[in-house]
């Protein structure tokens, strides 16, 4: 309960500083409107913000979950089949250095403006880093430990699930945290290609209306979603990888 109280106190303090700074320094609303105005905008049409929030959340979650599962599976396959790894991993690594989000345009053209299209964008933004980090983590397992388990008669599957995957978890979670941020970015950008609901749509509409207050309201929603999702992943990491996380 105590950390939650601290967090709440911090948020209230930040809100007061925001409101106070705008009033005290006379910041023009064009740059930064008062927090009370922004919250008022959300309170005026809570339905629109709530449905946009939920829509973007579901796109992100579906894509992230699929990306995490397929990424881990792929990492295991690459680990087991070195020939496949040598052939495909360089392509994966190179694909990390290209602006993959540009493919978002293609995905939206293929799947239309559906939840599926955005989830797929979120999926492949998560999937690449998770694959690479799973493989890194599996490769870093001490071969002597594998040898020990094998000498006790453990099967390949047992070694994988009891030793190698748990040992790789810290690395996997590094990628999952990255994927949590990236999948949200993918979902928001995907919505820019002409969806009707979602935080990305709210951002776009506010921009076209040149309404800075509505823009800040959408940014606030994005911040809450991003921080909340990242927080959940980080919390899961501390719970699951209790023996020490990678930075």
């Amino acid at each position: 309960v105590k950390p939650a109280l601290h967090l709440l106190g911090g948020l209230v303090l930040a809100g007061l500083v925001w409101e106070g700074a705008v009033l005290a320094f006379g910041i023009r609303p064009h740059l930064l409107p008062r927090l009370s105005d922004v919250l008022g905008a959300i309170a005026a049409t809570p339905g629109a913000y709530w449905s946009g929030f939920l829509r973007t959340l579901s796109e992100t979650l579906v894509g992230f979950a699929a990306g995490a599962l397929v990424g881990i599976f792929n990492g295991v396959v690459f680990f087991r089949a070195p020939l496949l790894r040598d052939m495909l991993l360089p392509i994966f690594v190179v694909s990390q250095t290209i602006p993959v989000i540009a493919f978002g345009a293609l995905v939206v053209m293929w799947f239309g403006n559906t939840l599926m299209a955005k989830a797929i964008i979120a999926f492949y933004l998560t999937f690449f880093p998770v694959t690479v980090n799973t493989l890194l983590g599996l490769n870093a397992v001490d071969p002597r430990q594998v040898g020990l388990l094998r000498s006790f008669g453990a099967s390949g599957r047992q070694i994988l699930f009891r030793l190698q995957l748990p040992m790789a978890l810290p690395q996997i979670f590094v990628a999952l945290r990255l994927g949590a941020s990236l999948s949200l970015v993918g979902a928001i950008v995907g919505e820019w290609f002409g969806d009707t609901r979602g935080i990305g749509v709210l951002l776009l509409q506010a921009m076209y209306n040149e309404s800075v207050v509505a823009l800040w309201a959408a940014i606030l929603c994005a911040a809450v979603l991003g921080t909340g999702f990242y927080g959940v992943v980080a919390f899961a990491e501390r719970r699951i990888v209790f023996w020490g996380a990678e930075q």
Binding site: G10, M87, P90, I91, W110, I188, L203, I219, A222
Partner: protein, 247 residues
């Protein structure tokens, strides 16, 4: 020897993928809507080379200018926080609050502030790059051993001496790693912001091609963006190996 074999396998894998792509698109006579053949994309990129070159030039300038600006700001800010620890309590929470918003959610606001010319893209790239570099620089400056600092102090080094002779060399590898990651991010952010509104650039070309449902053009713009990104990444990586030899 194993490096050469890995390289050969990687090249083989890439060729196999391109071949399968070409064969699939040609053999099944897939419409450009589903998947244009590699040769078609290359041909289109060559035919539209004037447009794509101009767009790449705009995007490249934005990314480079924002990259330089963001790196300078990120490193300077991190150095200031290390030299003046009192600033940290104020600046760090503000920085974290700004960073908690998915970076693309700032794009519409920045477009409203800076207009749809190049300035808004440079500002967005500087924001994204600045944070990446700032966080890695701060982690690098903090990484030094407490005892090394104490030792230098005992020999009469001031705060600036400790920073210049101990913290900065210790932090450079991490700063360089952050700057390497930031190269990719700079192009992604420039392209994504251009999609929202611009007078030119690869993101603008992609967005226009999407609205015209010109799939081959989207692919060729992605190709050019990827080449640009790879080149930038490679150049920064080469600079890093050249100058940070002690890592």
């Amino acid at each position: 020897v194993s490096d050469a074999r890995g390289l050969a396998r990687g090249l083989f894998g890439a060729l196999l993928l391109l071949g399968a792509w070409e064969g699939l698109a040609r053999g099944l006579a897939l419409p450009a809507y589903t998947l244009p053949a590699v040769s078609e994309i290359l041909l289109a990129a060559w035919q539209h080379r004037a447009v794509l070159q101009a767009a790449a030039w705009v995007t490249g300038q934005e990314a480079l200018a924002g990259y330089a600006l963001g790196s300078a700001i990120g490193i300077t800010l991190a150095a200031l926080l290390v030299l003046l620890p009192r600033l940290r309590a104020v600046v760090l929470p503000c920085a974290m609050a700004i960073n908690s918003v998915p970076v693309v959610a700032w794009s519409p606001l920045v477009l409203l502030w800076f207009g749809i010319g190049m300035a808004s893209k440079i500002a967005m790239v500087a924001l994204a790059v600045g944070f990446t570099v700032f966080l890695s620089a701060l982690a690098g400056f903090d990484r030094v051993d407490r005892r090394s600092v104490d030792l230098m102090r005992s020999f009469g080094a001031g705060a600036f001496g400790v920073f210049w002779r101990l913290r900065l060399p210790a932090a450079l590898p991490l700063i360089a790693a952050g700057m390497r990651v930031a190269t990719v991010r700079s192009l992604i952010v420039a392209i994504v912001t251009e999609m929202l509104g611009a007078y030119g650039g690869l993101g603008w070309v992609i967005y226009q091609a999407v609205t015209l449902i010109d799939f081959v053009q989207v692919w060729s713009a992605i190709l050019v963006a990827s080449l640009l990104s790879l080149g930038f990444f490679g150049a920064i990586g080469a600079l890093e190996r050249r100058f940070i030899f002690w890592r």
